[in-house]
Subunit: 304 residues, 3 copies
């Protein structure tokens, strides 16, 4: 096991499988783990606001019998007073047994781990690290197919600006024979720096058209096309519509293909899709709790 | 029992009495309930800020042995990213066992209950639903008089814009022979839509003058006249003073009349009233904890 | 013991030593206290944002087995609706068993204690009260030297605007033969009202130069020189540099001198100092948890 989770790149395939399989054990019998970290305190230090990641980690810690303190909003805390990340983290380490941090700066997770006397987990750091999102996504896929190897994954939407897609690509690159189909507007394509990092480990294809290739996918992973990424409202509106999933979009999909989304969505998957057997995004959110229980418990046990 | 609490209109008299009487049992022996919901998680999802309602629910859940996660401020969460209520609620339901939601939109409580896989409680939704405030108010009255039937209640202040007054009126309409006296500035009168809904079930009178009729009241329920409801500062100042309760105001009141207020107050009850035997507003706040313990426990037990 | 902690001035030497010595007992065997206040709820009511003080108190309450509710940001709560402190505190007292309040108004802690039915602790009130910071500072010194009496303490930086320095001066004045050296920019000198209050009880000297006198100090207590205290950026930049501690600054210090800082720092202690044997500021942060556990536990036990 490792001592901190700051980048999916640090975590080898065996450790990933270990985390996933432990999440499955926890999901099967959560009551067994309900007092596992009794008396332990998680601090959630969010320099950028977040709902899902924060609540999901808090729920995970509470479901292990632990407790939570934290900063949900940097604007209402002394974080804005200009303190360094290393000082903030040492403060949090003085008050708690494990830290989840979100920060906008590249490398901030690494700095935090360096200075902390307790385990640090990235809850999204810099522009490409969101390791626990990748792990819960892998858990969702693993639950469905019993493997990550030999799957064909479509990634659709904004592949450039979110932290989720790079983390996922680095994660898939650790497995064997994963094929990636990339669907995105021109200006939201995956970064070449990321693709060149993974191109020796997985096969990827930039595709123009979901309709023609959806029948080859095991997983369709949809992401939000964020308005704030476009120079103006018009540019956003022009592109938005081309990446919306409807029941009709899925008509040629494999029977056991699943649709995933890190949420929140703002229209890119129509509500009619929610009731289709392919929809997995709400289970995926729930899987976040099991995966984060697995991560927190493993890191805390390692430290003992 | 019911599965969600989104409107006082949904709750029949028997269920109201059931909740009230259970609150009384809890208040009598809180230690019996101190571990009742151990391991269960409440999420408080507030699209509008609130202090009292949120803290009171959190205290209630903790006093049942449960735990709490939540969003206190929509501005610092992904709620602002444009996600639908139904998606937010399904997220919260993935992370917790019961949800308290406050939202400014009419019907939002109903939507939340529709989509949630766990019980949903309105912590104030739309312009007229605040069912748990009504329930704690009824509990306060019931503790005092042993009944809700056959009482005369004065409602004073802003009867138009708060959620409390309509919820209370719908609640009183479920009981027998409740008489309502309405005291308010012209522009803050109770909405006709609400009054016409309840006029078959209770007797109400719009009164100009508290002094002349206070001797007939069992309860004087005072509400805050909010500055933001008036077109300008002057209009507010002109009216404000006419609805202030002083010890002198109460000199003709019945000996066992009680003064209630949902709080916060900003001057509409003078501090000198606090020490009079009629003052019940701080006990009323405390009653909120017992009533919400009753509600949370009943909904969680129902779900088992 | 006392019922509330609103000012260091209220607390006599015996009580201070009692709190400090109990903190030491807790630090030595924290597991003994892990369920001590089970079922008890702390409410943290912060009219001014704070990170350290709030998280440190929350951690302390959780490490006693208690629970926490609170308001981290007045802007997102009904505190802004114009409610009086006494009403807010009575509300919090209805929901919880002990209250920590931060408020910008002079005397606010006293008002809170007056109206509360549960113990109130100042988490920083007015311009000179931060009693728990003073207590944790004393605990840090006591751990190091086994006494507070007969020590020479240098206070450096902004001695005028923070709450920490006056609280510390009033605290030291309760002990015997404490010598204080004051180092600050002209416009950030300690207030004469404070100095005249303590001048009979301790010896103080306003010093121009740390270098010449550092060899006489047992403790060098550094505080942040806040940009917002200066009329303009230039005035700040002119002064900032003169009060920065580097390893070189410490070369003439006594071998067992310690460097303290209430944190956060923004450059006034260089990072190279962190690894020197004199650095105590991160332990000081940790000591805050033990000291606050001692305070919370004592006040709650007193109330039983």
């Amino acid at each position: 096991m490792i001592n901190h989770i700051v980048s999916i790149k640090d975590i080898d395939k065996e450790t990933i499988l270990d985390i996933i399989q432990y999440a499955a054990k926890i999901e099967a019998n959560p009551e067994v783990y309900a007092e596992k970290q009794k008396g332990k305190i998680l601090s959630t230090i969010f320099f950028e606001p977040s709902t899902r990641t924060r609540l999901s980690f808090e729920s995970a810690m509470l479901r292990l019998g632990g407790k939570v303190i934290g900063i949900a909003d940097p604007k209402t805390s002394s974080l804005k007073k200009g303190e360094s990340i290393s000082d903030t983290i040492r403060m949090a380490a003085a008050y708690s047994d494990i830290i989840v941090m979100r920060h906008f700066l590249e490398g901030s997770g690494r700095v935090a781990a360096e200075y902390s006397s307790v385990p640090v987990v990235s809850g999204g750091t810099g522009i490409q690290e969101h390791p626990t999102q990748a792990l819960l996504d892998l858990y969702t896929i693993y639950k469905e197919f019993g493997r990550i190897d030999n799957l064909t994954i479509g990634l659709l939407g904004d592949l450039r600006y979110g932290r989720t897609i790079p983390s996922l690509l680095y994660a898939f690159a650790k497995f064997n024979n994963v094929k990636i189909y990339l669907y995105s507007p021109q200006q939201l394509r995956a970064r070449m720096t990321v693709l060149s990092d993974v191109e020796d480990k997985l096969e990827y294809r930039v595709e123009d058209n979901l309709e023609d290739t959806i029948d080859q996918l095991d997983v369709l992973y949809v992401t939000r096309v964020q308005k704030e990424r476009f120079p103006d409202e018009q540019a956003y509106e022009r592109v938005k519509g081309s990446f919306i999933i409807s029941p009709d979009t899925l008509k040629n999909a494999k029977e056991n293909m699943i649709v995933m989304h890190p949420l929140p969505r703002v229209g890119e998957i129509e509500y009619d899709v929610d009731d289709l057997p392919q929809a997995r995004y709400f289970q995926q959110a729930k899987n976040g709790v099991w995966t984060r229980m697995s991560i927190l418990d493993k890191l805390l046990e390692e430290r003992k």
